[in-house]
Symmetry: C2
Subunit: 345 residues, 2 copies
DNA sequence: ATTTTTTGTGCAATCGATTGCATTTTTAAA
DNA sequence: TTTAAAAATGCAATCGATTGCACAAAAAAT
């Protein structure tokens, strides 16, 4: 069956012997149409199964009621939750979401962002890929008059709306907790340091050590260990040191922490008694492992709602320019078995 | 900073003293433009930071190069993988994806589908919500000349392109495996029977029992136990029966299987020796639980690629009408600890 | 009864890109 | 050198909805 031609406002107009203008006004519930015609139009529209052509409408109005989202991966806890949070709010306002994944590739991120600019989205919400440090594509978004909201992983020197976690604080609390549990040689698995969030987590780690007069041991700090595999590799290296750590903070993700746990288990090292493990993100699986993994919850769903609200707030006062500002959400330490050698065990 | 006006083909045309037609042709790499002008246009376009207005382009061409996807939840393994699979293929062809979640609500599904029709997407890919059995909104998609591809959970009486798992076969194999492991009283946690996939899984279960001359015991078949909580409730009920089952097939999902495992563990029932557990979907967490959960992998990423290819295949021969057909992907039983009382343990 | 205001419609331009047809320019063939 | 063919460009309509302006009809005010 061939695609039939769709009903347009002209079809409705013709049938009712009025102009398309009136039909348009009726459909938009304008006050400049007679109640009678309005009813008639709506009825006929329903009869003819009319669907407004958003392309035409948006072209004319210069808006798209669409928000583009670019995240590294949609199936990571924080991102799918943020998306769900955004959706809840935007859905009720008849906005569409276009979701893109960068797969941590800078090139794909750039292409996605450009595609969204092409689409004339009203706003782009992004958490940048680990790869890359050139953010001219984001500047480009702003230059095109499209609102830009960054979250979690942000390009810090770009002045935009930002919704963040207080990574420093979370990290500080996590390490403090470990120290209180009696861990003394705490290793750090770092994420790519070009990303602010990972730098902050490192700062929190360093500060916690300092506050408790613990030395910073460079061989216990491992760069770029942010997947499960890299976390596992790093752990093998660490546990084979002459003086191995008694705890590992997988600051990059719970996936990395999972790698740590698996290696430790396979090496016969007891968690949490011989080795404490702290992850990051509160992925659902962290409460399923044995022992369950202590981690940090980012309130990602709430972040999503915050982002959406921020957008609508900004849209309302169209005249005033956007004041770049940062909203910081305080994450929460979720204490589980993998660090609880005093209380738990 | 106010949104500056964007560069259009007219701006380029004016600057080069040619017409917009030529600019358009140059940008579309038409053979009807001089190589020189083509180069010049491309250069100027880059200089002026030109971005084609897809709204205008699509309006004119009557296509949108956009595929809409509606799934119950994007953070469920099968769905996020299918989406990723679709994206890989469509991305290289410059297609956009609009992703909607129905959250298992029929009403939201209908609204999402209508929004996608409004958007003039070229194709809608859907896995229907558990709720609801009226599929006129899908008929509506077809009536609007939009391609419709259903996957996994489908409205069976609607004649469309379908990409499915062979649920019956998978279920049959899973139960056969359990029987071979010596389980004799195997309970079934059913999903909503208005969905074909759950009916098929039940059929597979029944057939396996029959093949091995095992009786069908009605009190071991529990309706609608398809979340973690419902799975847990069902398990409590089952294990408190005078003659409790020695195995449970959570045919609905691994989440349900997880509920089973947690209840069993808390009741001190040993898995797999006292109770076998089989899940469905191969969620990532199933290999992390202890014991790890035997489950069925649906090759969801591959399904996604299949869906995308199916679409492009159909788009190519525009003339011939769409022949409704079904592609069935054979799932794979992943044997883990939760059912391995012979070999493993 | 006349003027003013309100309300409802229509007209026509607009958003930006595309494309069939006509026209001009260039190139090749006779 | 003239003619035919090919290549490049321009013109103008089109996709469908929206909206400022003009105008007519109806209602309200004088």
């Amino acid at each position: 069956m061939k695609a039939k031609k769709r009903t347009t406002i002209y079809d409705i107009a013709e049938k009712l012997n009025i102009t398309a203008s009136s039909v348009s006004r009726a459909l938009n519930n304008s006050s400049h149409v007679n109640e009678e015609t309005k009813k008639l139009v709506l009825k006929t529209a329903a009869e003819l199964n009319y669907k407004r052509n958003i392309l035409a409408s948006n072209l004319r109005k210069g808006e798209s009621k669409t928000i583009g989202i670019v995240v590294p991966r949609i199936n990571q806890n924080i991102f799918s939750n943020v998306i769900a949070g955004i959706e809840e709010t935007t859905y009720s306002k008849d906005y569409n979401l276009i979701i893109c994944q960068s797969n941590e590739s800078h090139e794909k991120e750039v292409k996605s962002v450009n595609a969204l600019i092409n689409q004339h989205v009203d706003c782009i919400v992004i958490s940048v890929a680990a790869e890359g440090s050139d953010y001219s594509h984001l500047q480009n978004v702003i230059d095109h008059g499209i609102k830009l909201i960054q979250f979690d992983r942000v390009a810090d020197d770009l002045e935009t709306l930002k919704v963040l976690n207080d990574n420093h604080q979370a990290s500080l609390e996590g390490i403090t907790h470990m120290i209180e549990q009696g861990y003394k040689r705490i290793a750090l698995l770092e994420g790519p340091q070009n990303l602010d969030i990972f730098r902050q987590r490192k700062q929190g780690y360093l500060e916690a050590l300092k506050l408790h007069n613990l030395p910073v041991i460079n061989e216990l700090i491992i760069e770029n260990a942010w997947t499960k595999e890299l976390g596992a590799d790093a752990t093998r290296k660490l546990l084979n040191l002459p003086e191995p750590p008694d705890a590992i903070f997988a600051s990059t993700s719970d996936f990395s922490a999972l790698g740590v746990l698996e290696v430790a288990t396979s090496m016969g090292i007891k968690v949490p008694s011989d080795l404490g493990i702290l992850g990051y993100s509160n992925e659902p699986f962290t409460e399923l492992t044995s022992p369950s993994i202590t981690t940090i919850d980012q309130f990602s769903h709430y972040m999503g709602k915050t982002i959406a609200n921020l957008y609508f707030q900004e849209s309302e006062n169209k005249e005033s320019p956007i004041v770049p500002r940062t909203i910081s959400v305080k994450p929460k330490l979720i204490i589980r078995a993998s660090t609880s050698r005093r209380s738990y065990q």
